[in-house]
Subunit: 170 residues, 6 copies
């Protein structure tokens, strides 16, 4: 059985994340979906709690018909010491062999430390969470940037108000 | 849909944990299984990594025929400020309504802070992880104290040696 | 008896803070004055120690003839997890019912978590601590922006030199 | 004007603390009352929050007819590096000259670092907070060990239940 | 015997550092070379590990014919509380009397806290580590900005790739 | 060139440490001497500052005629996450190949993570720092347990008083 690792902050989960997850799931039996910065919330860069992000991921994957036994969500708390990051991830996650990342330094650290196989994240869609938050803030066309179930969830928790509140903070 | 919350350190997962989880799953649709002290490992009280504990939980629940869509594993990092613990759990987890606990102070904090429904953990089996670790250390009858899949896993990672190593530490 | 809560960093205390405190004291019997970022000092944004800020507050309130039994100064250490901030404040402070704030996210968190009454900070004077620090740095007309006793205190500790030193730092 | 510094954890405030405070106030104009371990609460050694301890101190001193302009309560957060403790206290507190302590190491650190005058804490009454917590746990004669206003406060917040809950905790 | 203290981050060690160290060694018998931010690495501002920086310092000083008994390398971990910084340095280092610094606030803190002799860092060469990192990133003339042994070391660890990787990060 | 790594807390440095260091230096060209818990001091288990411990090591090795180019002292700050400890040490130290340790778990972590060569610490003398501190506390025969230069240093800083002060603390 092959297991992959893919990390994001999912602030919020968007179509680019979904594309990356679906592409990875074509290659591995199980995907560990790491939630980065899980303890950060109610700030401009991290408006949503980890719990809310878990709800977005599970509903979006359910919306795509992906079974819960294909993935595992793991909170990966920030540590400030980047040189220890691989050890940190190894402690928190079940064993995995393949790392999906678009970051050269993550690639370098995983390859240097342990001999993991590192693969480029494959996204068919070009969208960033920063872009989604900007569109939410300005009440523009954000809905098409995220999966339908996430769009519904964001409306339910009144994400537009959240984004405006944290923007105005201080 | 009703969601429950149950937390343990699972050092290692034993039959008491399994009994509690199975009983809770009779009452709720989905159970959030919190892993306490996820960053602690290779110590006397916390010999196993969070990743190893995730593997124990998923294999034990699979062994019991429990579907992956009935539960969610969430790392709940230790915070030293017990008065903020309820907020901490709320940030990390999807929404839940029912808390399963045997601790009077956890009961008090959840009831006082938020009006959750707190239910006594219902275990049919009386065993503690401390007891399991002692039996492992002394190479006695530890296998009957844990689910079969966990017993297999602990042998695979040579848990007896691990327990002895961390016992001897410094 | 009604108790209010008002927080600032007081770097330094200026006429806007004084106005907010005096207006709040018209509505409550006792005001908890939280000092934010109490452990930060000797930096550009936080040039003064918490101890110095306590001295500014007590002398300014004494200068206004406000009795020491009308207020209580409490250090509110920064925590990086904004979602736990209400719990954090509750642990550190005596009970209070009314929160004075100008921040939408603080308003949201207090209302969401607990049902506090949140009131808009009422300032008759528009001045910011950033502005005061700039005027100090450039040795311009800073004195009129702060209460007379604070002006005397800032001269006594040679605040102009302090501001210049921390500006030049590194 | 002479200012003194006296620190305690006040878990809970008892007659020994009161005696020390009253004796110190005979010698100084103003006493800074440091609350140690302010962020700890709901544990066996630290059952009460800092906010509750502030309420105990203010009500006990009011009960003794001590004016609020004779003292200042300051939270002194724990730092684990004892060699930096004097600097830590200096940052958090207004200037003081006299330190009241019964601890040889505190005495040594204050004298070594800065030339403060260190005086032995003078207590007419021999009681410890540990003793009070034991008596509360066993529902014995705890009331006579604390000031009357504290006794009333502890009943109001149901301290006996609190002590029992935290004792039973895990 | 006179001992001096000089701190830098050495990201990487350049000719300005070397000049400062050599000038200080004309005035003191022994120089404590503090490595700032030792736990930071693989980031844009701190690309090299503390271990790598130790190797740069020892090889550069050896290249200059400076004996190992003239200096001592000490990791000075960052603390965020600048007001406690002098105590922090004192705990980590053997006794010293003279501080070499170009920072007004460091000068102020050392003079205020303890009566150290503070001397201006004397550099004959004007170069910054920021400049060296920029030149590395752009594969321009960086070699002449650092001692020859450091240039060799940076090539050996492929510093150009490192700088590019951390630049591209995230 | 072969480099070794050996870590201790040196509270205080005793003949057992010296024996281990001298034996290791027979096998490697350079020895990295890690100082554990460098930020702890003025407590019962860690009475001496890291700076004082550096002074003990350098004077003891000088007393043995060991050149300063045979060893390197590195502060290894405690991290609570034992599973990341190998990465932590690697970041702080120059490259090394051989680890000297008497701890089974340290042995396991170094072997598991990286393929280091781990050798048993070889001590000809059986003494512990705990024993030395006890003898100091009771003013018994502690001098023969430590190198002569350390004995002189401990007298100079009045270690007996230090040990008594921290023992009495709180």
């Amino acid at each position: 059985m092959k297991t992959g690792f893919y990390i994001g902050r999912f602030q919020p989960l968007h179509n680019g994340h979904m594309s990356a997850i679906k592409n990875a799931l074509k290659e591995v039996d199980k995907l560990i979906i790491g939630i980065g910065s899980p303890e950060k919330c109610y700030t401009r860069d991290n408006p949503f709690t980890a719990g809310e992000r878990v709800e977005m991921i599970t509903s979006a994957l359910e919306g795509e018909g992906i079974s819960t036994d294909r993935y595992l969500i793991i909170h990966i708390r920030d540590i400030e010491k980047y040189g220890m990051w691989v050890s940190h991830v190894e402690i928190l996650c079940p064993k995995f062999e393949i790392v999906y990342t678009g970051s050269p330094i993550t690639k370098m650290l995983f390859e240097k430390n342990k001999g993991y196989e590192v693969r480029e994240v494959s996204k068919d869609i070009d969208v960033s969470a920063t872009k989604v938050r900007e569109e939410l803030l300005n009440e523009r066309e954000w809905e098409e940037l995220v999966p339908e179930s996430v769009s519904g969830y964001l409306k339910k928790i009144d994400a537009v108000k959240r984004i405006k509140d944290v923007e105005a903070k201080d």
